[in-house]
Symmetry: C2
Subunit: 169 residues, 2 copies
DNA sequence: TATTGTTATACTCTATAACTATA
DNA sequence: TATAGTTATAGAGTATAACAATA
């Protein structure tokens, strides 16, 4: 059809999310957060890596000799899910798995030199994606956003409380 | 085993997300947003309603006589997905579907009086969940969060730009 | 031929359960 | 018996494709 319907209940501005939902920080957080998660995952997978590769490598750099269970717990992913992630990272020579001689049930996971370099590449990728998505926000506003989100996340899960703020002592 | 492993690489504070990820507003937005989305959906489903019931009802109250396509577009859900949502809402007598006499392909969807009442109940439910999740934030901080998220969302999708801010004129 | 609503299908991410080897 | 890692399975949520009725 060439001429738009006259029956149309005047909505010259295109579809719009209901105003009361736009007024809800919770709705926006859920909606936007989900979309952001998908986009970031896709960016990493397009680059040929698991979506969790950056998280795992960043964790390994902070405290080496992690075991798979501690990695999974720290990143809040299931231990069974981590297996596939590490398989891929090991294939790409970014991490090494070797048995813990003190407890042969455990695998100690280490960053390789290649993994260390790739971690830096991930940081650049993450920065690029952040600039793309958070472009409308200044650096200061991004910091405000981060602090607000961090406080909410921390109240839900202690893993998101930075160590120096633990134990309110 | 009763005594915790001595082998443990000193980590007395429990597992923690890598600091550089905690510093990233994008990571937090994705992680927290996804968790929030799931929790909100569960809250609504526990109450016996589709997770999208509130969104649909809120939209219908603003501009009645919506057609299924315009509803789906406004809420950014797939038209095929909306079918099941409306089926449930209709079973619960919250909305009515009837054919558009001017174009018998279309269904005009309306709020029922019951739906109007339920919408108010949804508002209370949403407020309760918001207080639960955003508890650590003051009202002012929640408004800041909302504005930041709204700007980011609006830059990605025009549906999130409030009508009065459209067309920058 | 194009569009509305519908149904059917497939895909992704995640959660759960069962299995092995070690302790 | 309990734990670490692994594998297999099922579930939720979403996206895609095909279909009937109508324009």
């Amino acid at each position: 059809m060439i001429t738009p319907e006259i029956t149309q209940t005047s909505r010259p501005e295109g579809p719009c999310v209901p105003r009361e939902l736009l007024a809800s920080p919770l709705f926006l957080l859920g909606r936007l957060g989900y979309a952001v998660k998908l986009q970031v995952m896709e960016e990493f997978e397009t680059a040929g890596f698991s979506a969790y590769a950056y998280s795992v490598l960043a964790l390994l750099e902070e405290g080496a000799r992690e075991t798979q269970a501690t990695i999974a717990d720290a990143l809040k992913i299931d231990r069974s899910q981590l297996v596939g992630i590490l398989d891929e990272l090991e294939e790409q020579s970014l991490v090494e798995r070797r048995r813990d001689p003190n407890d042969r049930r455990r695998h100690l996971v280490n960053l390789t030199p290649t993994g260390k370099r790739q971690l830096n590449a991930f940081r650049k990728l993450a920065k690029r994606v952040e600039d793309e998505i958070l472009g409308p926000l200044s650096e200061g506003e991004r910091a405000v956003l981060r602090d607000l989100l961090l406080r909410v996340a921390g109240s839900r899960d202690a893993r998101y409380v930075p160590p120096e703020l633990r134990a309110t002592a």
